[in-house]
């Protein structure tokens, strides 16, 4: 039985197949409308999430299946002290597949060790968020037509951002990728990602503090939020925070076919005026998230539409 715990659980070929299915779903949604009739998705969310949980539920409903689950640990047996191992063994009796979000890193991996149904990691603490990575890959491929030979700018909090780490690891498997890492010194990509992924594979990269300088080089700009609480002192935050706010002025320096992505929620790091620009792709990205989760559910359940 296949689970999705880490974005690298899927080979490049499997990702291609998954993204192909997602694109087919986008083009022919009616073909998939009853693919999961009679199937149930359990959403086990031990911490609150709006987009991810709704995206999973929308995906299963679009496939004709049903959903059940809980939206916070308070409403689950975890509040009574039940282990992950016990919970998943019970849920395996109720549903055909499950998506789990948990504040503790590695919780979905533990679940997969005891589960009789496929487990999807829907985010484990600050660790992994593989379906966001699949969403990012589908968005990039759909908009740019490829996942290779791209200059990818990652901007903002590159230290704590789990989506950034997963995306780097996944894109590092494609040829001709170049990373431009745009962040304050305090929030740079951790050394282990640089050493074990980027440098180990000899991928060209550049670390810069200012977004404006590199804007014209980028094919994709992946924005993340710089959070005040990550800084040791207020002065540094004030000095740096505006460098990472994407405005129309800054975007005017970008290529005409560059696209802006963001895992959302956006707070103030992308000015609202940018939303009108053709290159702002973050809301389309949320739509792609549903398609790719539909494709993933089909793959893990081994279902092929009639």
């Amino acid at each position: 039985m296949k689970h999705l715990i880490d974005p690298l659980d899927l080979s490049v070929e499997e990702i291609k197949e998954l993204l192909d299915t997602a694109n087919d779903i986008e083009q022919n949604p009616q073909k998939y409308a009853h693919a999961c009739d009679g199937k149930k998705l359990a959403t086990l969310f031990y911490e609150p999430s709006t987009r991810t949980r709704l995206s999973f539920e929308a995906a299963m409903l679009n496939l004709g299946g049903k959903t059940l689950g809980f939206a916070s640990a308070d409403n689950s047996s975890a509040a009574k002290g039940e282990s992950i191992a016990d919970t998943i063994r019970v849920v395996s009796c109720y549903a055909d597949i499950c998506a789990m979000r948990h504040p503790k890193e590695g919780a979905p991996l533990v679940a997969s060790q005891y589960s009789r149904i496929p487990v999807i990691n829907a985010g484990d603490g600050g660790h992994q968020h593989p379906t966001q990575t699949l969403t990012d890959l589908l968005t990039i491929r759909s908009l740019k037509g490829r996942l290779d030979h791209l200059t990818i700018g990652l901007c903002g909090d590159l230290k704590f951002g789990r989506t950034v780490h997963s995306l780097i690891k996944s894109l590092a498997r494609y040829e001709g990728i170049r990373f431009v890492l745009i962040s304050p010194g305090e929030l740079k990509v951790p050394d282990y990602i640089l050493n074990e992924v980027i440098r180990a594979k000899g991928i060209p990269y550049q670390e810069v503090e200012r977004l404006d300088d590199v804007m014209p080089e980028l094919d994709i700009l992946y924005m993340t939020r710089v959070q005040r609480e990550r800084f040791f002192n207020e002065e540094d935050y004030i000095r740096l925070k505006d460098c990472y706010i994407l405005t129309q002025d800054k975007l005017n320096k970008a290529k005409k076919d560059m696209f802006v992505l963001h895992p959302l929620p956006r707070v103030n790091e992308i000015a609202v005026e940018v939303d009108k620009d053709e290159r702002a792709a973050y809301f389309r990205q949320a739509q792609y998230g549903v398609y790719v989760r539909m494709a993933l559910i089909l793959k893990l359940l081994g279902v092929t539409p009639c």
Partner: protein
């Protein structure tokens, strides 16, 4: 000079970094063994200056992976009929289970009962292991 009898049957763990024998005693759970164990600390060594040695008498199973994890430069001699019948070359194990625990407070292994604490070797050169649950690093001592 302190004399400890030669073993007739058992295992001699030699070339332990001076001061490291108690750590090995703990990791190998030698206190649970029902046999004679001699710990020799600060023995003179031409190769190392000072070293520790552990001699264990009897018939038992040892987890050589744990020894390789602690220090793969350690020598293990298997003794039978008072002779060395085999020398074990240790290497860094690809994986260790229930030897060390993850120190990342956000890791599920810190709260889930009955979990198998598992670390995988990710960088042989740097002797670096990672928790399989949260990828927290653990570096073993490099001699």
């Amino acid at each position: 000079m302190l004399n400890i009898d030669a073993l007739e049957k058992g295992v001699v763990i030699d070339h332990i970094k001076a001061g490291g024998s108690m750590e090995i005693y703990k990791y190998l759970r030698l206190d649970k063994l029902d046999c004679t164990v001699a710990i020799i600390k600060n023995a003179r060594s031409s190769k190392m200056g000072r070293k520790d040695i552990i001699k264990i008498e009897g018939d038992f199973d040892l987890d050589f992976d744990v020894l390789g994890f602690i220090d793969h430069n350690i020598t293990v001699n298997i003794i039978e009929d008072s002779k060395i019948i085999a020398k074990k070359n240790l290497s860094l194990p690809k994986q260790v289970q229930n030897v060390i625990h993850c120190k990342n407070p956000r890791c599920i292994s810190t709260v889930e009962e009955g979990i198998i604490h598992t670390f995988k070797l990710c960088d042989e050169e740097k002797h670096l292991y990672r928790c399989i649950y949260c990828e927290q690093e653990f570096a073993t001592t490099k001699r």
